[in-house]
Every structure is written in C-alpha cells, then in structure tokens.
C-alpha cells in the first residue's frame, strides 16, 4: 500500500496515493480556473505528479500539499495559455464554453480575484479549501509567519474592496 513515505512505483499504487486528495485538487482548480478548465487542470496536475513522483519529498510536506502545489502551478500555466488563445464561439447560441459555477458570494468572489496573487492564494487555500496555516505554507513554499501576515494584508485589502467596516 502506498503511503506518504513510499513513492508509488506503478499506476495502481499511484491511484491509491492520490485518490484521497482528488477532491481538494478539484476544489482548488475550480477556484483558480479562469473559464471552467478545472478538469483539465486536475488532469494535467495528475499527469505531472505521475511523471515527477520521484521528486516528492515527505520531509517538505504531505502528499496533499505537494499535489496542491502542482495544481497551483498548472492553473497558472493554463491561465497564461488561455490569454493568448482565440476563443471560438458557438454560432448557434453565441455561448462560450467553460462557465464557472455560480459563486456563493459573488461580490466577495470578485474582490478575491482582484487581490495580488500571493494574497489571493492564501485566501483560497485558507478559507476556500479550509487548510491550516502550516499546510498553506507548504503549498506555497513560504513560512507560516508569511502566510499569517499575507492573510492579514489580504483581509485589509478585501475590506477596502468590499467597503466593509468593522
């Protein structure tokens, strides 16, 4: 059986290794995907994880934080790619594919998307994925103290964007 300490050697072991973390990967991809590419982000992340599994270092974090870091990287690459890609529109209905699910708090969602990248990432990981500060730090490759200060900065920025008074 695959564990955090035993890097999987074949596809079956790999499946058992990543399966507990698939939903967290999906959640992060949904939050980060610009136009509904979250399935592809997860798929690309899993392929990347499969190819790079020998580089996983359990001393630097859990399997989940390693996988979420890959999702973050893949999402950024796909966003960059999407900016330069022509979007084809279905002439029958004029729709563009890949709409995201309706946000639960649209105003908050818009504000979060306006945050600088690091501030947005800590908000996504801490609040929307529900990760503890230590795991946020492992995913982003920064110190826990930096996560806390970035969270504070992000909340200040959000208050201004949302015109929330305390």
């Amino acid at each position: 059986m695959a564990t955090d300490r035993a890097v999987p050697r074949d596809a079956d072991e790999f499946g058992a290794w990543v399966r507990p973390h698939l939903m967290a990967m999906k959640h992060l991809a949904v939050r980060l995907a610009p136009t509904g590419d979250h399935d592809d982000i997860v798929q690309e992340a899993l392929l990347r994880a499969w190819l790079r599994r020998s580089t996983f270092d359990p001393d630097r974090g859990s399997v989940q934080t390693w996988l979420l870091a890959i999702v973050t990287d893949r999402a950024r690459r796909i966003r960059r790619r999407a900016r330069s890609v022509l979007r084809l529109v279905d002439e029958r209905n004029g729709s563009v594919a890949g709409a995201q699910p309706d946000p639960v708090d649209p105003a908050l969602d818009i504000a979060v998307r306006q945050l600088p990248r690091r501030q947005r990432m800590v908000i996504e990981l801490y609040y929307f994925l529900g990760l503890p500060v230590a795991e946020c730090a492992a995913v982003l490759g920064i110190a826990e103290g930096t996560v806390k200060s970035t969270l504070s900065d992000a909340r200040s920025r959000l208050r201004a964007l949302l015109e929330v008074t305390e």
Binding site: D10, G15, G36, D105
Partner: protein
C-alpha cells in the same frame, strides 16, 4: 471573528459543500512511451492481449534521458537566436508499435467547447505551422490529413499537399491518446516559395459529426515569394503530449544524416550512458535547429520470459546543433530507466539499445548489462 472573517469562512464552507464530480485519474497508460515494457517474444493472440494489458501494470515511469554538451568533429556552428523554439520541434519516431485502442475518457467536443489558435514561424525552407486545439472537458478528434490553407475569402490556396521525408517516419499517434488532457497539437510544414494570396486561416476536421470542421485564424509569415514559385504543404501529426512533444514532419535535408551509437562495453541498469554520432554524408551543413528534433531511446533486454523493452526520450532543441558538411557531431546521452523494467534485467545479459530521430535511420547497438 469579525464580519469579513465570518463572510470568508461562510463562503468557503458553502463552496466546499457544493457537490462536485470526483475527478477521474488520467489514462496513465498513454505515458507508455516514457517507460513501458512489452514482451516482444510473444506472438499472435497472446501478443494482442499482452499489448493491451501489460502497460497498465508495468509502467516504469520516471524514465528520463538527457544530453550532455555535444562534441563536434570537425566543427559545429550555432544557428541564430531566431531559431524555432521547442514548440516547433520534430516528434521522434515510435520505436515500438502503439498499443490500444483506449476509450475516450471525455465526451466529444462541440464548437462551443473548444479554443484554438494557429501560427506559423519561419524555417529554413518555408514556414512551420502549429495548430493548438483545446477542448474544455471534452475530446477532440483531429484528422491532420485534412489541413487546408484558406485565403481571406475562405477559398483554398493553390498549395500542393505532399509527403515529407519518408525516412524513419514518425508514426501517427492515435488522437484519442492526445485528447486525454483535452489538448491537441497538429503541425504542418509549408515549404518552398509562394507568391499567391495570403493565408488567412487554416481549416481541418477536428470535431465529430456534421460540424466536424474548424476554421482557425492563422497568424505568422508565409514562405518567401520567388520566381518559379512552388510550395508544398506537409501535414504533421497529432501530438501525444502537451506542450512539449512536437508535431512537425522531418525536413528532407535530414535524410543526408546517418546515426550510429559508439561501441559500449557494459551498461548499468539504472543509467545507460552512450554516445550517438550523427554524420553528414552531404556537401551541405545540416541544421538540427530549424526545426529541432526530439529523440527516442529504447532499451530491450531478455527477462525470464520473453524480452522487455523500455522507452524514454528527450530533445536536442537547446543545443542548436549543425552537422558540418562531410563531418559529424558526437552527442553524449544518459538515459535512466527506473522501475520495473531494469529490475528484471539479468546482470551479464545483453541489452539492445536504439536511438532515433525522425528522418534519419535508427541507430542500434548491443551492450552487456553490468553486474550489481
């Protein structure tokens, strides 16, 4: 907890409560070119069954190959910085037949599901084109043979369609493999000289059913205009990886090269180190950078039952190589095969090594597997 904190916590809790389909695992079998093994001694029906089943259980992923600084004899030169990037590299031949078929993991795309772009870049003999089609959560079914260049009025350009270099051709990779992550790349070469109307778009069959054709705006240069102009469009292949595996046909000039592997005594199980010699039989220098080649390495060795093969590959794109006229270059390569494959090799046995780029006959040699 203040108001904003409560609002964020509440939004996060409600977000995580939204029902989401659990992602499926990707078809890792499609990675077989980076480390799969087939008992080639098997024949007939048994071989068919084995070809479908064995890669699923015997993936030796993590295999890698890398190139050390090449050594040139008698000399090599570098092409200008404007040479084409890795995205215009030439896919290597497959040294083993594809296995399958595999079923599509996603439903077919509709026009609303896909984004696409097409662009050309200048090459030594015309231009290279790269078409990228991305299906959002669906499958694309590209037929590269249908690539047609259109003018601004949507009329096909008067450009003949012809074959590329037939030497050691890249075998067609099944589109369904390429679609695993929803992205498909198709390349083409537009060679020679052309003086007609500008190419404004490219059309190809890429979707199932009646709406099969996609017309995609084309950006980038066309081949130069010259007297007695004549140009040819050579369709490439569907890439199996994104974005590194390239899809262009091999330049005809590469048929002037021969490849060989310098004799090697013994090889380690973990890392096969060898040197490839590319020799130019012609009186003209041959550039391997415009486009550049990706290469494939395979190693086969007997095991208790049959023979096992493992494959990996790499790129020569960062080296910007030129093989001088009537000269040669030496390319040191280290290929690492980890996992099930080499674990089963017998020390003292013989491993058969092959190295190939498109358009050049495959280089092959045998070596002895070192003792542990």
């Amino acid at each position: 907890m203040n108001e904003l904190d409560r609002r964020l916590t509440d939004a996060g809790t409600r977000f995580r409560a939204i029902p989401q389909a659990l992602p499926s695992l990707p078809d890792l079998d499609r990675r077989r070119r980076r480390g799969w093994l087939i008992p080639v001694a098997m024949t007939g029906a048994a071989a068919v069954v084995a070809a479908v089943v064995i890669p699923l259980v015997a993936l030796g992923g993590g295999d890698t190959a890398r190139v050390r600084a090449p050594v040139t004899n008698p000399s090599s030169s570098h092409v200008p910085e404007s040479a084409n990037a890795e995205s215009y590299a030439v896919a290597p031949p497959l040294l083993r037949a594809p296995t399958g078929p595999v079923s599509l993991r996603k439903p077919p795309c509709t026009p609303a599901d896909v984004t696409a772009k097409a662009a050309t870049a200048t090459a030594s003999d015309g231009v290279l084109g790269l078409i990228t089609i991305h299906g959002a959560g669906c499958s694309v079914a590209v037929d590269p043979a249908t690539i047609t260049l259109l003018d601004a009025a949507g009329q096909p350009l008067d450009v003949a369609v012809g074959p590329g270099n037939p030497t050691n051709p890249v075998q067609a990779v099944r589109p369904d493999i390429a679609q695993g992550v929803g992205s498909v790349k198709v390349g083409f070469a537009w060679t020679g000289a052309y003086c007609g109307p500008a190419a404004a778009s490219v059309r190809l069959a890429a979707l199932p059913g009646e709406q099969s054709e996609l017309t995609i705006p084309l950006t980038g240069p066309a081949p130069r205009c010259a007297p007695n102009a004549g140009s040819r469009l050579v369709p490439g292949l569907v890439g199996s990886d994104s974005p590194q595996v390239a899809v262009e046909p091999a330049p005809v000039a590469w048929s002037g090269l021969t490849a060989s592997i310098e004799p090697i005594g013994t090889v380690d199980q973990d890392a096969l180190t060898f040197t490839v010699v590319l020799a130019n039989r012609t009186a003209t220098a041959i550039a391997l950078s415009d486009p550049c080649p990706r290469y494939e390495v395979s190693a086969s060795a007997p095991v208790p039952v049959g023979t096992m093969s493992s494959g990996t590959g790499g790129s020569l794109c960062s080296e910007r190589l030129v093989v001088p006229a009537h000269g040669s270059i030496r390319i040191p390569i280290t290929a690492s095969f980890t996992g099930a494959t080499t674990d089963r090799w017998r020390p003292g046995g013989t491993v058969h090594l092959a190295w190939a780029i498109a358009g050049v006959p495959t280089a092959e040699t045998d070596a002895i597997i070192a003792a542990d």
